[in-house]
């Protein structure tokens, strides 16, 4: 993996410097170096989406991103979502039964935030497509779709603004 090197990145709005192998997975750096264990590993090969994070506003599987590629980028994880109260998407997942075992939930919520930031009122077809990279083994997705619809209905323009969290300069 080569020698460790210092890599700078912005995580949930805070600039961080980490010492990591350049080819180390962004997922491992988030979890092990930065202690952000809300991002989960399910498959390690970009199929299940449990490790979904936003990288400069794009939805990525952090298990497929070498940390080198995140240098200077803006990363948003599940931990960056709830401030004092639950984010409307989190609240909707909680109320609609969109989370069962919870292991896919952080990735699913990040994917939902990404979907709603570009499509604030998604159709069922758009929801199904928007979440097709995030696997859930518990719910059969029905209640996740309901949660997305419920979040879309309840979100204010301020919430939507919060979704487009990426600073203008890197967008």
């Amino acid at each position: 993996m080569g020698a460790r090197t210092e890599i700078r990145l912005t995580v949930n709005g805070t600039e961080r410097a980490v010492s990591a192998y350049p080819m180390e997975r962004l997922l491992d750096v988030l979890r092990n170096e930065l202690g952000l264990t809300g991002t989960k590993e399910g498959c390690g090969e970009g199929e299940c989406g449990s490790c979904s994070v936003l990288l400069n506003g794009e939805l990525v599987n952090s298990c497929l991103v070498p940390v080198l590629q995140a240098e200077g980028k803006d990363i948003r994880t599940i931990e960056g979502l709830a401030t004092e109260a639950l984010h409307p998407v989190q609240k909707a997942f909680l109320e609609c039964g969109g989370a069962q075992c919870g292991i896919c939930t952080p990735g699913m919520i990040v994917a939902t935030v990404h979907l709603l930031s570009s499509k604030p009122k998604p159709t069922m077809e758009e929801i199904r497509e928007g979440l097709n990279g995030n696997l859930c083994r518990c719910t059969g997705y029905t209640r996740i779709f309901e949660a997305v619809q419920s979040a879309a209905e309840s979100m204010t323009s301020d919430d939507l603004k919060q979704l487009s969290c990426v600073p203008e300069k890197v967008r």
């Binding site: 264990t37 075992c101 292991i103 939930t105 952080p106 979440l131």
Partner: protein, 751 residues
């Protein structure tokens, strides 16, 4: 129904932690000085170990190495039969069998070290199918490759054939299925003189692990402590296997003197851990001239893999469910679990029933077609009625109306109108549509005398502020254990839902309420929680304090008063069988389960005759599960089970080569995505069950049983071709519809 908390969609207890990502799963925990463990596994299916070689390029002094020689005492995984070693010593019986363990502080170095260990083998012939195992050319287990057999005999089956208007035979097979919980298996172990052994892990049954570790270490009960961490899905896949991983981590921790974490990656988890048993079922059925069942013979065989593990229990449930919810005047079920050189198959939601019920409900359609009767009509004539008895001669005392359930499911799915329309449209269409039915049941709780042997113990305690805790070893892994048990306690005590919490799932804190399996948590454990809560109130009354009928504030004050003056306020409740329950373990006769969940499901599919793919367009799931404790969680259980069963029917195929799973990745083992599933329409009929908490029965496994036969019945209705195996892949439909059209197997139908 006047309950305040039960039946209400309260928020999931651990829900906020899950949606914020703060819930701690085992891989989220790091202890000081912790090492990471990895497993060296066999690459052959059967043979003997001739040597272990540590290759060059690795600084082996940095690694902790554990072999079978480091196992103190007997080298077995303690479960039912002691035939499975914790680490293979000489004999190898399946691919991916653990041989050697390694630990190191740097996680990244482990895969390199595992690859550098070379095991020298002398290979032996191996067995890889039910048929190969049955023919006994190679004996790979015991004297005849047979783990277990059961026979159910009701009426006089040998006499029915002469009176039959029709005799219909059929053979049906089902494949292995991977549980595919999104969180892989993992544990952390710590060993020291003061505390003994402590294990944290992703698991369903802390006391199974506790028992296995006591046997492994020889330590007394109080020196082994098992704590369940937040568990990211299980579905049966974390029932027995965590005992193995925990054993491995304990051996490494003991040898190194440091905490050790073993977390499998996806490929290792899929290749090495348990799956649903593959099965073969043969039916021979006698029907009279009116379309009534006279009798049937069912031969049910499951592939158990290389060691006994849970196969006898899985076989038992499959055997009892094999005759389904029908009235058979005579029936004989002969069931066998056989050995092959594959990693042991294990528990998976449904536990043998999805296999034998797939065969049965497919066969019911085959029979209906053979005797010229509509599938719904044939079922309606033969479904059990109250007062009639099941294959084990269990008289149905619940006031069920399966004919009504069937009619309602047909109405909800618009079955008759759509079938009529499809049969016209299909003639010229390349996309052919069809509908299929499955009527089925699932027993809640352990089979037969099981609950009496388990002897579950449940507690409820209250602190000085009147905050109440539920004390159980029943675990949460998505189903909603925490939520429903707190609802029940709150209801029984007149408290608010938020006043009640779960004690940590830690064997040092909670009593042994048995394993979290077999659709037993809501019905059996829920009832014990209700009773313990009632006993807690009575303790207050006995102390002259307001307890029974006290309002919330008075109750809380009374708890405070009690704790201050008398100390601990805690009540326990132990399992008591409902009255008039009789079960004969040798004859397999009597009350197999305290209660059943009943269901009729209807699937609507499209078969594209250009691509041979099947799409499920609509799915109606109607069931009677007693009182629904939580409408959102209950519907979520059904939806999730149906989704998993759609995968079982159409997508999830384990490819084997010499007993090893070849497609052990999410890339090539395909589970349903958000774009693959139909609207799953869930309906409940609620007939309160007398001995369940507030009338509830079990629910978790039921939805796994019906979808596969309903879907394949629908594919048959759409195409007019016969399909008798799952998973039903596009290539199977292609080969049946075109390539093998002329050699299609026809039923033996005799007049």
């Amino acid at each position: 129904m006047s309950e305040r908390v039960v039946g209400v969609a309260v928020p999931r207890k651990e829900g906020a932690a899950k949606v914020t990502g703060t819930a701690k799963y085992v891989d989220d925990i790091r202890l000081d000085g912790m090492l990471y463990g990895a497993t060296v596994r066999s690459t052959i299916a059967r043979g003997t170990i001739k040597g272990i070689h540590f290759g060059e390029g690795i600084d082996w002094d940095e690694f902790v190495v554990v072999t079978a020689k480091d196992v103190p005492g007997k080298n077995v995984v303690s479960l039912i039969v002691e035939d499975q070693p914790l680490l293979a010593d000489k004999q190898i019986n399946h691919p991916e069998e653990p041989i050697l363990l390694l630990a190191h502080a740097d996680r990244h170095l482990l895969p390199l070290a595992v690859a550098a260990v070379r095991i020298e083998y002398e290979a032996m012939p191996s067995v890889h199918s039910i048929e190969e195992s049955e023919c006994c050319k190679e004996i790979v287990w015991g004297e005849d490759n047979t783990f277990k057999t059961y026979t159910i005999d009701k009426g006089n089956i040998d006499e029915v054939w002469k009176d039959a208007a029709w005799i219909v035979e059929g053979e049906y097979t089902t494949g292995a299925q991977e549980q595919l919980y999104i969180e892989n298996n993992g544990v952390i172990a710590q060993v020291n003189d003061a505390d003994g052994v402590t294990v944290w892990g992703s698991m369903q049954c802390p006391f199974y692990v506790h028992k296995a570790l006591m046997a492994l270490t020889g330590l007394p009960e109080d020196k082994v402590r098992v704590i369940q961490t937040e568990t990211g899905g299980a579905f049966g896949g974390k029932e027995d296997y965590p005992s193995i991983i925990a054993g491995h981590a304990v051996l490494l921790a003991k040898k190194s003197g440091r905490p050790v974490k073993i977390v499998y990656d996806r490929m290792e988890d899929m290749a090495a851990t348990t799956k649903r048993h593959p099965s073969r079922t043969r039916h021979r059925t006698a029907i009279d001239k009116d379309g009534k069942l006279l009798g049937g013979e069912i031969e049910f065989v499951i592939d158990g893999g290389a060691y006994v593990t849970l196969s006898p229990v899985v076989l038992s449930r499959g055997t009892i469910h094999a005759a389904g919810p029908y009235c058979w005047p005579s029936i004989r079920v002969k069931a066998t679990a056989v050995a092959t050189n594959t990693p042991p198959h294990g528990a998976f939601r449904g536990f043998g029933a999805p296999q034998s019920l797939f065969a049965l409900e497919r066969h019911m359609d085959v029979v209906a077609r053979a005797i010229g009767m509509a599938p719904d009509e044939f079922r309606r004539k033969n479904l059990l009625r109250s007062g009639e008895s099941t294959a084990t001669q269990q008289v149905i005392r619940e006031p069920i109306d399966l004919q009504h359930l069937l009619d309602r499911a047909l109405e909800l799915s618009d079955y008759h109108a759509k079938m009529a329309r499809f049969s016209k449209q299909n003639v010229l269409a390349t996309k052919k549509k069809g509908m299929g039915i499955a009527a089925f049941f699932h027993g809640a709780g352990f089979t037969g005398s099981g609950e009496r042997y388990l002897n579950a113990l449940v507690g409820v305690d209250a602190d000085e502020r009147g905050d109440v805790r539920v004390l159980v070893s029943s675990t949460e892994f998505g189903q909603g254990t925490n939520t429903i048990l707190c609802q029940i306690a709150a209801e029984a005590l007149g408290l608010e839902y938020d006043d009640v919490s779960m004690a940590p799932p830690d064997t040092r804190v909670v009593p042994n309420s048995g394993p979290t399996v077999a659709s037993r948590t809501a019905m059996i454990i829920g009832k014990l929680v209700q009773r313990a809560a009632t006993d807690l109130k009575e303790k207050l009354v006995a102390a002259g304090l307001p307890g029974a009928d006290a309002r919330r504030d008075a109750f809380r004050r009374a708890c405070g008063e009690y704790v201050r003056t008398r100390g601990e306020l805690k009540a326990y409740s132990r399992y008591q069988a409902p009255p008039d329950v009789y079960w004969d373990d040798t004859k397999y006769r009597g009350e197999a389960y305290p209660a059943f969940g009943w269901a009729v499901y209807v699937a609507e599919v499209t078969v594209d005759t250009a691509t041979y793919s099947v799409t499920v367009d609509d799915f109606v799931a109607l069931q009677e599960v007693g009182r629904v404790l939580h409408p959102v969680l209950a519907a979520g259980q059904i939806e999730g089970g149906v989704a998993q069963a759609i995968g079982y029917a159409l997508y999830e195929k384990v490819e084997w080569k010499q007993g090893r799973m070849l497609n052990n990745q999410m890339t090539n083992y395909i589970m349903p995505t958000s774009q693959d599933l139909p609207p799953i329409r869930v309906y409940f009929e609620e007939v309160p069950y007398q001995y369940g908490p507030y009338g509830a029965k079990g629910i978790g496994e039921l939805p796994m049983d019906g979808p596969a036969p309903a879907i394949v019945n629908a594919v048959v209705a759409a195409t007019g071709e016969e399909f008798r195996s799952i998973p039903l892949m596009p290539e199977d439909i292609f080969s049946t519809m075109y390539v093998n059209a002329s050699t299609k197997i026809s039923d033996e139908v005799t007049a």
